[in-house]
Chain length 228, copies 2
DNA sequence: CCAAAAGTGTTTTTCCTACACCCATGT
DNA sequence: ACATGGGTGTAGGAAAAACACTTTTGG
């Protein structure tokens, strides 16, 4: 076993995190982009919020910090590690190994300013987020696939819902992630059967139609369930 | 945004891989251990095969290299990234961020010497691999959970099977991973229905009983399937 | 009274589970 | 001929899928 080939051998790489921060608005799955300006390779580009890990924080702590800084999000976000990207040339300036994260937040919990597209952060429909800098197209695709897979066998979508919502709201979120149409009656039967929702016995009124019962997720934790 | 807080800030961590190399022998799920001798914290301990990533290789390449070196395995192994462990004190000597991998190999494809327990590598039943150095108990547990989960909705067990096997062989492997008894008839119906096996129209003879039909996995790739 | 979304039940089909006996071979 | 693991079918119940009309409200 080799030992001590020197500091530059042991610590050759820069450690970073890249975050696929996602939300759902009006039945559309959105992802947060941030400007990337790194000539000559990526002048005036867009990419996922990302940044270096500090010596005194874990990768997840770094991801949370970066979502707040570059994603302009103050609210509590849900974080889940996605994959670690270690290709030699994923950053043309040098060796950067990035731990990718999925971050989810309900649109309704963002403050007005957080929802805005500012100069250095935009919410865009995930299928329109192409041509990103570095290997961020790959990270986005990996994140999208993972979210879709986990939506079918966990309660991860709870992290995209406001505290109160109607069954139709919930169905729309599932449909936007899975990109399928679900049968309203069967969806309601299944989601109520698995006992993860609590009816609030209050209704959301306001539209020119019958008011809808409000629900919340009973538990804040993401649980494994049967397939939806 | 901070820039250039110095090299020691940017490259503070050592990057490593730790590999949960697993196989199945006689219906038992085994994991490969290697000696760890790092006084004062881990004198004469055991741990998963692991080592540093080189500047010119990806994490996966490092994992493959380490399985060959520390795991004493020459054959082709299947690799799947597990999780990245970045706790500040997972290695008491300094900051080490480790990308964990699951590696699978059919017992039958190991050479005689690879199967042996040598001075610096042992195959042990996974439930007996406790008290490992560093955070390797956590990595082992994470790997075991992941393998169990993926066995139920992918064809990952194909990576633990020899090229030819009987349906009973396959059932034994599932049972050892899932730690349940499966119904022979139902297991056969399901596994044949999902169309991932090809019958070789040859039989394995030799025992004092009816010869068993031999099968192989139709495709070498790990596919998502319905739950088993 | 009209438009709009909420809410609800039944039938059909598919899938899962439980279960026991005969078959082909080697000794 | 006997011991051993290989191989097969069916019936009953549970879950999934398909499908259309009535309800409640605001305007």
């Amino acid at each position: 076993m080799k030992k001590n080939t020197g500091e530059q051998h042991l610590r050759f790489a820069v450690l970073a995190v890249d975050v696929a921060l996602m939300t759902v608005r009006d039945g559309r799955l959105l992802i947060r982009l941030a400007p990337v300006h790194r000539p000559p390779h990526f002048p005036n580009s867009k990419g996922l919020p990302g940044g270096l890990i500090d010596p005194k924080e874990t990768a997840e702590e770094a991801a949370l910090r970066i979502v707040k800084a570059k994603g302009h999000v103050e609210s509590t976000v849900y974080m889940e590690q996605l994959y670690t990207f270690s290709e030699l040339n994923r950053d043309p300036r040098g060796r950067v190994v990035a731990v990718g994260y999925i971050a989810l937040i309900p649109w309704d919990e963002l403050s007005t300013s957080e929802r805005e597209d500012t100069d250095d952060a935009w919410w865009v429909p995930i299928e329109e987020a192409r041509g990103l800098a570095y290997d961020h197209d790959l990270i986005r695709k990996t994140a999208h696939n993972r979210l879709r897979a986990r939506a079918t066998y966990t309660t991860i979508v709870s992290k995209l819902m406001p505290t109160e919502f109607t069954l139709t709201d919930l169905e729309r979120v599932y449909e936007s992630i899975l990109k399928t149409d679900l049968d309203k009656r069967n969806f309601r039967k299944k989601i109520l059967k698995i006992q993860v929702l609590t009816a609030l016995n209050r209704k959301r009124t306001g539209g020119a139609f019958r008011p809808a019962e409000l629900y919340r997720f009973t538990s804040p934790s993401v649980k494994e369930i049967e397939i939806l």
